[in-house]
């Protein structure tokens, strides 16, 4: 632990929880939109954010009758903020749904080992959507296929039917703390040190662990 860490801890305490949540949400949103893979569902954060959104909506509903110019103006600010928060959450959820739809079988195979990857409602959506799709395929043509060819997650014949996210795609990453990441530079690959504030283009596979630890953020 060096002076930067100490300073970071002190300043983190000084920022109110609400603001830190906004920062975290924005970070999660950017990361989700940039990373090729789906990231773990931030359950606590989302719980807090949703709770606060609900409270603000109630506040707005309570005070709309008020014709006082001052509260009215305050209300507009609250509503504007509310819309922005809603947008963040909406866009975040939509980005996740998109990934869920893109790699359903891959995610289904991941879930048993990492049940916190998706929220319960997302898991429901995934399984329900997948069963819908396979029923649709079966009804359209698969049921008339010879039995050995009816599977949707076939890996025989040299071609896997399961689509996987490309973990080797490049992302822009900024280090929040000094840390080590895996870089593929020069074909061999090596551990490289990232200093706080550095912005690099790296392969997602190399920084995934650091992003999950919170050492690195995607931009």
């Amino acid at each position: 632990m060096d002076i930067d860490d100490l300073l970071a801890e002190v300043s983190a305490g000084a920022i109110p929880q609400q603001q830190r949540d906004l920062q975290e949400l924005t970070r999660a949103w950017v990361a989700e939109r940039c990373a090729p893979e789906i990231l773990e569902w931030p359950e606590n954060l989302m719980g807090r954010v949703l709770g606060r959104i609900r409270k603000q909506i109630e506040l707005v509903e309570e005070q709309t009758g008020d014709m006082d110019a001052k509260t009215n103006f305050k209300l507009i600010i609250v509503q504007t903020e509310l819309e922005r928060f809603k947008f963040l959450v909406r866009s975040f959820l939509r980005a996740r749904i998109k990934k869920i739809d893109a790699h359903p079988h891959h995610l289904l195979s991941l879930l048993p080992t990492n049940p916190r990857l998706l929220s319960p409602s997302e898991q429901q959506y995934l399984t329900a959507h997948q069963s819908l799709l396979s029923a649709h395929y079966a009804a359209s043509f698969l049921s008339q296929f010879p039995a050995p060819l009816q599977k949707l997650d076939d890996t025989t014949g040299g071609v896997s039917m399961i689509d996987r996210p490309d973990t080797q795609s490049a992302v822009f990453a900024r280090a929040l703390r000094d840390c080590e990441v895996w870089s593929e530079g020069g074909g061999e690959g090596a551990r490289v040190r990232m200093r706080r504030g550095d912005v690099w283009v790296v392969r997602w596979g190399g920084v995934r662990a650091a992003v999950e630890r919170g050492d690195v953020e995607l931009i």
């Binding site: 409602s121 799709l133 060819l149």
Partner: protein
Amino acid sequence: MYGEIGNKLVQHAKRTQSLAHLPPYQTEMVRAVTREVRDLDKDVAAILEPFAGSFNPSTEPATACALLVNHLCMRRNKRCLLAYHRVRSDRLEEMCWNGVDVLERQYQQQQNSNRPAGEGDGSSSSLSPEEEEYVRQYSDLLAAYKGQWTDIDLTGSLEPPKDLFIDVRVLKDAGEIQTEYGAITLTKNSQFYVRQGDVERLISQGYLQRLS
């Protein structure tokens, strides 16, 4: 034979991606590809029959090769069919997300196409019956998932909001809407300064136009 129709189907799917509307479902082609797969499977069974389960590929390279080609073609056809259906179901899902009532539109299309032809055939529908069923179930699923996020309005605009209030012009009469600042009557060609959240639905449905 050997994947030719499958290829056509994939080309069709490729074309679908760049079209604004969904072209009619190629029932004939799908059936032909499925038939081809079944024929190939029968061929494989027929080739293997005389060997009675004791087939050794290294002693009969020619037969092994024929079998391989048949197997590969079946798999390829399957992939073509899956790709074709996936492209279409993706498109249908997108419509569901955008709040387009696919089935309603479908029905209208049929009505329109039936009218000039006098008695049009029922096959003018661009969706297969299976797809209609899929759309129905997917919208239910989507509604169920959305229902858990009532505060957020998941199908709302994905553009970051800049202003709380926006200028809109009414393109079609939409009747009266309730906002927290009282009721507004939306008559054609009138212009309003309203809260974006209140009218988003109407904009996506084409009743209002946003003025920048």
